[in-house]
Structures are given as structure tokens and as C-alpha cells.
Amino acid sequence: MSRATLRACLVSTAIIGIAGVAFADDDVGTLTPEVAARVYAAKPNYSPYAGRNFPTRPFFGDTHLHTAASFDAGAFGARLTPRDAYRFARGEEIMASSGQPAKLSRPLDFLVVADHSDNMGMFPDLYAGKPEVIADPQARTWYDMIKSGKGGEAALQIIMGFSSGTLPASMIYGPDTRPYKNAWQDTVKAAEEYNDPGRFTAFIGYEWTSNTGGNNLHRNVIFRDNGDRADQVVPYTTMKPLGSDNPRDLWRWMQAYEDKTGGSVLAIAHNGNLSNGIMFPMIESFTGKPLDKTYVDERARWEPLYEVTQTKGDGETHPTLSPNDEFANFERWDFGNLDASVAKTPDMLQFEYARSALRNGLKLESELGTNPYKFGMIGSTDAHTGLAAVEEDNFFGKTTPQEPSPERLTATFVDNPKTKIKVMDWQVSASGYAAVWATDNTREALWDAMQRKETYATTGSRMTVRFFGGWDFDPADADNRNPGAIGYAKGVPMGGDLKAAPTGKVPTFLVAALKDPIGANLDRYQVVKGWLDEKGETHEQIYDVAWSGDRKPGSDRKVPSVGSTVDIENATWKNTIGASELIAVWKDPDFDPKQKAFYYGRVIEIPTPRWTAYDAKRYGVKPLPGTQMTVTERAYTSPIWYTP
């Protein structure tokens, strides 16, 4: 990559930031020469801060939160509305559905309320004063009462009218009435009310919950747009005849929305671990045929990100798939599909986890020309409580019955007598959040950063993680006062691409991680590499590239364990081990310029008490045998791909 192009990358972010236009190309590393020429400044500024418009801080949020408007959340007892959810995420204290006050340690920067599209009910618009309604004299009277401040009286009369069957025909909210207002419009309105550009972003979104046979193919759909566009559609559902459980149909819906409204949407899949082998297929489950060109193109087009960690388990990789990865056995949910109706078999695993999908994606790309699994990483909660609360010491569970109580340490979550699969509440993971390197905290800037995959997943911690790839990083760059500036100047950020290697060059990476300002120190920064060999086989390798203290790697190149300071009984730990910040430059020692590859960063914290330890301490409850009591929080960056 030429120096001019590299600078163009740097300024390309500026264009996005200023003009707020959609980033047409999801490849952060390329830019057309015309645009580059227009914005390329020939003379560098003296001041290193002037003209800088690359993202300088990550924004933390949740792209996947349910409220009472989701039928299953409501059935579980969730009472909080989308408005409550936004208030809580903004840092306000809220009364949880279980009747206890809840507050985050720090506000989040953004939130997507993603309620299930199925069963998003229709409601009458009694109060909007639509002509069809107020044509009726009685309705007119009530309408006037409302307008003159006697709304309470009118409401009671209306409600009584419903129950006694004396309501005017125009107001009966049976299926045949015209004046409708639906729950979707209310969801959109709530997001509009709480969206506060520059301070807090309330995204419009929903979850498309394809779940045929209990196999999880769920996707969250996130709008870049405001209510004026989102209001023109209704969410896509999974039930025929209007909806479908096939992702191809969801992609068609997304295309129709963009074509008609000029808006922008993206979809994020989650919980491949509960799909029983169909989340990242090579053979399409709906047809039994190998993926075709249309599938891979559309998936790559609409699904730039994957939700790799959440309350229902971690989805980076599995010990069976990555036997040499000592951190792979993490918050595992591998019993079967979502409703536990079919048990897991080992052959399913490679089509369920992010790392194996990234590997299979390289294979598919050589066969079909497009990599359908070229996704970036985010984490989110999938909480059904209206509370995006996944800090270990402040965990409000996945569902309302799992909000803090003395019972949740020993209660059962899933129990399917047919398959004998049982999942306990303690297995629910206090995870995760999405971190987005955006130029500003707005719908447009955050969405554009998601689209170009400049994101990483965390399991609930708010560590800052940088990951840059290029051909010319040298060790001195790790001593640069400003790693972000040198990273953008000499390489591409997470989510980017490295094209054919210049002769004799090897990929170099500038990696940096800063601990959560109120969290635990860092154990190590690893680079995970996957590649495709000449025989068409894929491989993976993990490299420890920066770590705390003066530990020496063993003959297997692995850095020994950092140890632990956790006092489980008292649910405490000390930052006497680990490092507050890790910065290094790393060069791939095993590079073959002919082989397609991906690289992503994984940052591991020192061990800390898991939410179960806080519960045991605070409630004085004895955990069940086998309960996991510590956790090593972590972050996964979006990969950088090398494509010769």
C-alpha cells in the first residue's frame, strides 16, 4: 500500500465524520483515488492534533436488549419499557421489574432496544385525533375532552366503553378498525426521544428471531436512520405468509427497505452455539445444498458483524475446535440448541463458533470469490430485563427471575426432560458489551464504524483496545507518544484489509490495550491467526505478543499463567499482578505471502470474581458444586484480513 493511500485512509475517516455519509465500501483500507485527491493535504500540519479526525476513543454500548415489549420478556415478568431501558443505559437509577433499584457504575454511550419482531402487537391510536376516529360524535367529544385537559375522565369513559361494549364503531380496536398505531411505532418514538447526538445514541432496531426446530438463527437489525425512515416499514417477522425463517428473506427485506427509503440497515447474528450447526453453514440447512454465490455475497453485504459473546455463552471458540488454546474453555454453553430439544454433537461445532467460521470463510472465498464470514466482532447482553447490566458485581441477569436474589445461585434455568439437558442460572454469563471506534457518538458515526468493522467485543469490561496492521510498523512505534495516530498513519485499524504483500514484506501489527479505569489489570495481549494452506485446509495459531511482568515464554512460545489474586470467599481481587497498559509491535513469524489469512486481537484480564462469587458473598448462599466462581474478562477485536 502506498503512502498516499495510507494517508487517504487517515483522512477518509474525516470525510465520514464531517459529511456523515454512509461508508460505501466496508473495507477501511481502501479509498478511491478521486476522493483521496480531493482531501489529501500535501503538507502535514505542524501540530500533531490539528486536522485529526480518526476515532480517538471507543464508545461502549449494547446492540441487543429486550424490554417488556418482547413477548417472552413480558412472559418472564419484565415490566420495563424501551424508555426505561434507555434511561438506565444513560446512567439513571431505575426500579427493576423485580422491585429493586438498579444503576450502572457508568453510563453506556449507546443502546439498541431490539425487541422480537414477532408478536410486536398492534394498538389503536385512540388519542391521535385521526379523522376516521373523530368523525364519530362520541369520539369527537372524547377527543375534545382530551385536548382540553380532561384526558383522565375521557380515558376512564373509553375504558368503560370497551368493557361494556358501547364504544363507537370507529374506535373499537378489533381487527377491522383503521386507525392503528403499532408497538413498532412506539419503539421508534422512544428511540427518537432518548437519542441525544454527541452524548447518548438511542438506535432504532429489532430482533428477527428465526428459531425453527429450536435452532437459533437470530439476527438483530440496526438502523442507521432516524424515525422518519424507520417508520416507513414494519419489522420483518419469521412467520409465514408475511415473514420467513430463512435469512435470505431477511436480506431481501433489508434490500427493499434501502431501495425504497434510501436508508441503511445492517444485521448482527448471535448465539451460533445454540444453532446446532447451522449458524455458519457450508451446506445451507434450508436446501441441503452447498452455499452459492448469492448467499455468500448477500451475507457479506448485510452482516458485517457477529455478536461473539453474551449472556447465553461465549462464541469465540470451543475447546474441541481449539485444543491448544488454554483460554478456549470460557463461559461455555454447548449443550444443544436454544430450547434444548436436540443435544449437541461434536460435528456441529465448527459451524457455530466465530473462529472456525472465520477459517471456513477463507475456504469459501477461494471457492466462490466472496467470504461470507468476513465479520467483525461485538459483544452484547441479550438481556430480557430492559437492563443492560453485565458488570460482574452489578449483574441483573438474563431474565427477570434472574435479577439479583438469594435463589439465583442455585435455581434452574432450562430443564428439558426429553433430552435430559439442564442449565442452571449460575451458568448464565455476565457478558457482554460492544465497543465501537467511532468519530462521534451519533447514530451515523457509530453505525458507519460498525459497517467498517472498527469494533471489538468485551465480556463486560470496558478496556480500550487498539489493533493496527500494516507492512512497516517497527518496534519504535510502540514507544510513540500516541499509538492511535501512528497506527492510522502506517496501517489499517481492526476490520481492515491487507492486500498482496510487497516483496519481502511481512505483516506487522501495532497492538495496545488499556485496562478498564475501574477494572482489573491486563494479563496478556494475544494475536489469533487463521490461514488457508495450498491444500485448501485451514489452521489456527495463537501468539502471545504483549504481557505483564517479566514472565518468559516457554519452549511452546506460550507465556506462563499470570496467577490469581482472587479471594472468592470475600469476592475481592487486587491489581498487584498484571499491567495497566500493554503496547507492542508484533511481526508474524510464520508468514507465507501466498496464503490467505486473518489476524485478530484477544486481550485477557487477570482473574476476577465472577458474579456468582459476589452473590455467594452478598446473600450468604452456598453455591452448587461445580459453580464457576472466577472469570477472566476479555476482549476480541475485529480481524484484519490478508488477501494476496
Binding site: 382530551i146 377491522d176 392503528y180 398505531k181 432518548y194 488499556l514
Partner: protein
């Protein structure tokens, strides 16, 4: 033995099934031929409208027929289910109905937007909700203690002189870090999110204009130059109208919902059987 049989869930299910089928036979025997499902023009329009909102185009004739057939199927099932009483005691349906009632209340609340006077009164009576905390803007130079053992503090102090002398020195001074070199006007809470609580508390007390420090954070040592301090204030309504309106509406929604519920509750006599002394249900 009998007790065990009675407790067996399968027995419960079979009994329930027998009851349901008996009821079904009774009801359908009486009414099977009499029901009319009238798919009105308005209904067809609504089905077509929903399709158009989903797909951004009207349905074809075939698609519309599919929607109507499905609606008829749903209607038949719903009516039969209601006749059989399958809606009774269904937790999902009950929660859904409750949600709809609450939705009515919130729609009512939104139908009466606040007046200027109401908003001003709300702002006056809730100053703490809207008060802008004091804010500072600053630059910082980071000193990594691990790189300056044994006396990082002395190493930091040694940088103060050059920093005060040369305005451009800050850009290259200190150790590498992901922490921002400068922060725009930010309140203490916002600073704490990036630098931690201790640092945030200290930096808000520094006098602007000169490089000072070092001050300590959980990450390491920092030399700091505060550029501007803006004292806390209560903004005027015109500057924060959307926020006041949002808060007012949120309160108003709760008030309306409580009023509506209280009104409805008056229509019922509620009898709660006494609890036992320890608060558990009496046996």
C-alpha cells in the same frame, strides 16, 4: 401410591386433555355451522397495507390471497381457542393484555403535551436533575511508573520545567498511552469514565493555566495543564427544552398510569386472605 399418581404431571395432562376435548365437543357441536368470518374491505386493506409496509410494494393478487387465507385460518383458530377458553390463565396472554392497557395510558399521556409554564415549573422544582456540573478541559502527559523505577514521581517532576517553557513539548513528552492527550470540557463523571475516580476528583481542583502535578491514577502518573474551568450552572429552559420535556413526559406518564389504575381499582373489591405470622402463605 394414589398420592403419587395424583402428583404425576402426565396424569394432569391427560385429565386436562380429556376435559378440553369434552368441552370442545360440547361447544363445536352447538356452534360449528353458525360462525361467519367476514373478511371486510377494511380488513383486506389492512392486510395489504401491512404487506406494503413490510416489502415496500403492494402485494400481488396471489400474495394477497395468501394473506387472506392465512387471516381466515388464524381467525378460525383464535375463535375456537377462545371458545375452548384456552386464553384463560395463559401467562403470556395476561401479560400482553396488561401491556396493552398500559400502552393506552401512555398514549393518553402523550396526547397532552406540556405547556411552556408547566415546563418552567418542572425545571424550577427539579433543579438537580438539570444542573450542569462544573467542567474542565485539560491536557495531560503520562508517566508510566514501570518505566521510571524507582522514582517515577521525580521523573515526572523533571518534565514540568520543559513543559512550562515550551508549549510544543507536550506533544512528544512522556510515555506512550492510549489515554487521550487532551480532554474537551468534561464534567467529573465523564473524566472518571476515562481516567478513574481519583484522577477525576483531583483534576477538577487544579488551577488553570500552568502545567501541574504529577497526579496519580490507577494507570500511572500524569502531569496536567487545565485550560479552562466552567463552573456549574442551571441552564435556561430554552437551552435544554428537549431534556425538560422528556423528563416531564416521563413523570407525567407515571402519574397518568397511576391515576388510571387507581380509577379502575375503585371498581373492584379486593380481598386478600390473611398471611401467616411469618409472612408466608397460611396453610
Amino acid at each position: 401410591m394414589i398420592k403419587r399418581v395424583i402428583r404425576e404431571p402426565l396424569v394432569h395432562f391427560l385429565l386436562l386433555a380429556a376435559l378440553v376435548f369434552a368441552a370442545y365437543g360440547l361447544v363445536t357441536g352447538q356452534q360449528s355451522a353458525t360462525g361467519t368470518i367476514d373478511v371486510t374491505q377494511a380488513k383486506i386493506e389492512q392486510l395489504a397495507g401491512l404487506f406494503a409496509k413490510t416489502w415496500q410494494r403492494p402485494p400481488t393478487a396471489e400474495e394477497l390471497k395468501g394473506l387472506i387465507d392465512d387471516y381466515v385460518k388464524e381467525e378460525v383458530y383464535v375463535r375456537e381457542a377462545l371458545r375452548m377458553g384456552l386464553d384463560a390463565n395463559d401467562a403470556v396472554i395476561r401479560k400482553r393484555l396488561r401491556l396493552k392497557m398500559e400502552f393506552l395510558n401512555s398514549a393518553e399521556a402523550e396526547a397532552s403535551p406540556p405547556t411552556e409554564a408547566q415546563l418552567q415549573a418542572y425545571l424550577d422544582s427539579h433543579p438537580d436533575t438539570f444542573r450542569q456540573a462544573p467542567r474542565v478541559s485539560f491536557e495531560q502527559v503520562y508517566i508510566n511508573p514501570q518505566k521510571h523505577e524507582p522514582d517515577a514521581s521525580a521523573a515526572a517532576k523533571a518534565l514540568l520545567g520543559p513543559l512550562r517553557k515550551d508549549a510544543n513539548y507536550a506533544a512528544t513528552a512522556g510515555d506512550p498511552t492510549l489515554l487521550p492527550a487532551a480532554m474537551p470540557l468534561t464534567d467529573q463523571r465523564g473524566i472518571a469514565e476515562v481516567f478513574g475516580d481519583d484522577f477525576a476528583a483531583e483534576v477538577t481542583n487544579i488551577v488553570p493555566g500552568q502545567w501541574q502535578g504529577p497526579i496519580t491514577s490507577d494507570i500511572g502518573l500524569h502531569l496536567v495543564k487545565v485550560n479552562e474551568r466552567v463552573p456549574g450552572s442551571l441552564p435556561a429552559l430554552k437551552d435544554i427544552r428537549p431534556a425538560v420535556e422528556r423528563e416531564w413526559m416521563n413523570d407525567h406518564r407515571n402519574v397518568v398510569e397511576q391515576q388510571r389504575f387507581d380509577d379502575l381499582l375503585k371498581r373492584y373489591k379486593v380481598i386478600v386472605e390473611p398471611l401467616s405470622a411469618d409472612g408466608s402463605p397460611s396453610k
